[in-house]
Symmetry: C2
Subunit: 344 residues, 2 copies
Amino acid sequence: MPKLTLERVAELAGVSRSTASRVINGQDGVRPEIRRRVLDVVELTGFVPHAAARSLAGQHSRILGLAIRQTTEQVFSDPYFAALVQGISGACNDHDQTLSLFLFQSAAEHEHLPARVLRTKLVDGLVVTATFSDDPLVWQLTESGIPFVIVGEVSNPHISSVDADNQNGAALVAEHLLSLGRTRIATVTGPMRSAAASTRRMAFERALAVAGQPMDPELVVEADFTEDGAYAATQQLLVRAPDAIFAFSDRMAVGVLRALQEAGRRIPEDVAVIGFDDLPPAADSRPPLTTVRQEVEQTGSVAVELLLERIRSPEIPARRIELPTRLVVRASSVASQQVGGQPS
Amino acid sequence: MPKLTLERVAELAGVSRSTASRVINGQDGVRPEIRRRVLDVVELTGFVPHAAARSLAGQHSRILGLAIRQTTEQVFSDPYFAALVQGISGACNDHDQTLSLFLFQSAAEHEHLPARVLRTKLVDGLVVTATFSDDPLVWQLTESGIPFVIVGEVSNPHISSVDADNQNGAALVAEHLLSLGRTRIATVTGPMRSAAASTRRMAFERALAVAGQPMDPELVVEADFTEDGAYAATQQLLVRAPDAIFAFSDRMAVGVLRALQEAGRRIPEDVAVIGFDDLPPAADSRPPLTTVRQEVEQTGSVAVELLLERIRSPEIPARRIELPTRLVVRASSVASQQVGGQPS
DNA sequence: GCCGCTTCTGGGAGCGCTCCCGACATCATC
DNA sequence: GATGATGTCGGGAGCGCTCCCAGAAGCGGC
């Protein structure tokens, strides 16, 4: 039995290679009856074009890469990445692209990315996450000429990026806490090299200042986006007696909650706690977390679409897309409505 | 400037395409001086062979796939996968293979695997994890003829697999608890469709029975490898007053710990708790967890090596490799040595 | 100095597909 | 009925590499 190739499919359908190719690639200019015939043969034989041959002859591989700039442990313990990958993976399927995840944490693996992945033309483009300001990787990618989009922030406006509206998110938190009459508002931030963290911080400070209640620098502690880090940060904060703590992620907020509870603080009466993300830990914590909702999964799918746009139409200028954020109020900032009342 | 191809490199080095190819692929039969000359050109120009062309002309893509049979959330929240992926990724780098991660959770994405990944000859082989007994995927893969290895258990001996020695691990736990004089030994298992869970359970039961202290079926609760699941399972268990609980993973053990502590039980005095894996949550929990250490990262690298063996030498019969497990005793089963004594 | 051997090198023939262009048929138009 | 526009189809020419084999070069032995 001969090998199953385009040629063979064409032969079986009684058409030429070219016509079979047109049908399989959904191009028009083929009479419906002939199209049908080819499609039937494809169905019957289960023909699938050879990826490498396609990639060599056409000019693209239909493989998109996802490069995450974090250690494996960090990636595989963060619900944020779960949601993001979910969104990216789904969008790839929708657009008939294969997603390939590249992990590179050690410096050595780092070196490999340009050589082994980019120069070999293995991927058509890259979604890159968790970069920090002035990340050399970004520069490297720009140099290499490969299309890519960043999930997060970039200073260079000629690079496409997707992100949540961090500014608005932080401002909403400030507004909410002020409206609750909190006066000793603390923050547990992410590392300042993270652009998301510094943007949230700046926006938060500004919102407080505008409202005439500027932030006390003593009430700001930098943590590392982990639960344990936030737990430790909160212990530091306790002596300063804050009446509200804004943690820059839900995971960190969970650590904040734990530290406060162990110290005997009532939430939200003594201290209001607010997170960021609205990912699984938020609604399940006790008490449920007031948090800034961002659409992480959508962020992923938008990133893929933006990347495909860049690949297919390099002439379109780069652009940045910010997805809306909104505040989700739960019991960690506002006492439940039944407090002091009877269940109806 | 002409495109950088093998042809061009050969031209610059003053040799033929074939010779350049030999040098780049590390084959011998090339005079050292000529080899040097080619290598210099490669270095200078930064030439990297085109992946698709290689893949088409040779018969392999140098891409290995990792297929994880779980939802994205599960994968991205489990330290086990972090370690496993780490091992696999490292081994791929060592062997100059590109790792591609395929996520497919929905039924629709499932369908894609055979067609889009296997038939296209995109990957040379697959590492498959988290299969369950009689998983149709395994059958599909066997049918398709693509080389693959399973991380975990398989009934079919003609399939290569890598796993920890679960039997020994479970037996060690039984032995340890018995030696501590525990009599009401409970287990919080994983789902019984998981082969690892059922093997651990069987081995554990057998070990207890052999020691003349058969397991009380009332003291066995099935959970789902999550912390919350184990928390709930333990609450069920509390009324039966166990004096030891063996959880089938460290994450679950953490849930067990939490439930016991909330119920006011002292650990290990009232209840000894033992986990499985010895991954990050184990040593950091309070109290630190006695657990069965398995070398997850090594499991990953061995899987890759076994896969490469199958790809390169299909004639070698399939084999199963079991990596040793050992007991790591910490404070969750044995009170710290300083209890009742003075620090020296 | 010639033969036969080994060691090294070069060129041809694909791998399976896409893309381009020319051939052909069909139909409307004058 | 000749002409051109329009719509379909087929074949050739690669994409950049690997593999195979033939041929060149170098060497010792007679």
